[in-house]
Amino acid sequence: MIAATYAYIVTNFPFLWQGLVVTLQVSALVVAFSLAGGLALGVAIVYGPRILYWPIRAYSDVIRSIPLLVLIFFVYYGLPALQVQISAFWAAVLALSLFKTGHVIETVRGAIGSIPPGQNEAGKAIGLGFGQRLVYVIFPQALRRFLPPWLNAVTDTVKGSALVSLLGVVDLMQSIQQVIGRTYEPLPMYLYGAAIYFVINYTLSSLSRALEARFAYIRE
């Protein structure tokens, strides 16, 4: 039994590995794009001029109110109708990035907003300029409030990336489906796939906890 299980895991791994690489690629790209976009828009919504506030607010509220699957289908099937040609892979990355950017905006806004106003005032009072206050006073403190929910969102991204299999992208999820298609053994295969997702995400959430402990010395 153990030998058979072992053989099952080993024989199927090379194929699943290719899918896993795609899952990790999608996740990494989405994390990078949403981090860049969300940081820029999140800082803009807090400190930017009034004319930036409402468009960003609207974007974040709308995007977070749409099911991710609807957004993925919208980008993949909707953009070609607008004469934008896009591959399944990039449609998936784009849709997930748009979605996650909304969440990063809110995480950034919340992290900055949780810093007491007195911190900014103390920075002003000792003569620090606007940029210096952000870099030396606000951001280092906001970072530790940003990291745990953001790492949580990263695990969400890895999990959410399974939806790209619905566009035919051969990610981990799609690879699992294909193996099941050949072998007609759904239960062990889904368990196997779940285990792989678990290993990735459990590693990330452990990292999140370690980071929280790392910043525990900062007390108000």
Partner: protein, 258 residues
């Protein structure tokens, strides 16, 4: 009526802070009403009054943590306008100590003290650290230099906050209820530092209800109520001969039990 504050020995000194017809509103609420005030270099001014009387708002206008709407405000010869360069220039010369200390919790005590000298005054790190240690000695907590603010008592934190301001070598110090958030047994250690600072000739504007401190160091005390300067006098007359009923009532309330 401009409040005449300067006692004899300071009348010749140049003006540090001057407010002329200063007004400020929060929406409909008229928080500062036609404030006229002159503080000369080396003068120590104590500001008291009931909560909501505008005293904190008034001193927060001096380093532009609050914006006034009409009137003029000159600090160390520079007029405060919306010009960011003027605001930055004034903030470099004006130190402020807050009720809630507002130390940076992610930085050590030493880093709190050297941050502005290094990045604003461009002082080399080593020199800034030596200066920081000098000021920590003066507030009598050099041994806490490597600790984080969260590891210190309230009184120690407030002394660090005073040292942090002094590291910028300010010409004027503002104190916004510096002892109000402290446990009673820690008030003295902070007041001692402030008294010493006053003895060295620092120009100080202190919002405080520590009337013992006011008696000991103030050249003048002003009493504010509902956004106005109601009365201003040297400590002796301020306590002995209050002219208005509002001040009499206020003194009877805060001096009860003293």
């Amino acid at each position: 009526m401009p409040a005449s504050l300067a006692p004899a020995h300071n009348t010749g000194n140049p003006i540090a802070v001057e407010m002329r017809g200063l007004n400020k509103w929060y929406g409909e609420f008229h928080v500062l009403r036609d404030i006229n005030l002159t503080v000369r270099k080396g003068e120590r001014l104590v500001i008291c009054g009931p909560s909501g009387s505008g005293k904190s708002t008034m001193i927060r206008c001096i380093n532009r943590l609050e914006e006034h709407q009409t009137g003029t405000l000159m600090v160390d010869g520079i007029e405060l306008t919306n010009d960011v360069r003027n605001i930055d220039a004034i903030r470099r010369e004006v130190g402020m100590v807050f009720q809630q200390f507002n130390l940076f919790p992610h930085l050590t005590v030493l880093e709190n003290l050297t941050l502005a000298p290094i990045w604003v005054r461009k002082v080399p790190k080593k020199e800034a650290e030596e200066a920081a240690m000098y000021y920590l000695e003066r507030v009598k907590i050099p041994e806490q230099a490597a600790k984080y603010p969260g590891q210190l008592s309230g009184g120690q934190q407030q002394r660090v906050a005073i040292a942090r301001s002094l590291c910028m070598k300010p010409k004027i110090m503002l104190f916004d209820e510096p002892t109000s958030a402290l446990d009673p047994e820690m008030i003295k250690e902070v007041l001692d530092v402030m008294v010493e600072l006053a003895r060295e000739g620092m120009t100080m504007l202190c919002v405080t209800h520590e009337m013992g401190f006011a008696r000991e160091v103030a050249d003048a005390i002003i009493f504010m109520d509902r956004g106005e300067i109601v009365e201003s006098a040297p400590p002796s007359t301020f306590f002995a001969n209050p002219r208005t009923d509002r001040l009499k009532l206020f003194l009877s309330q805060i001096l009860r039990g003293h």
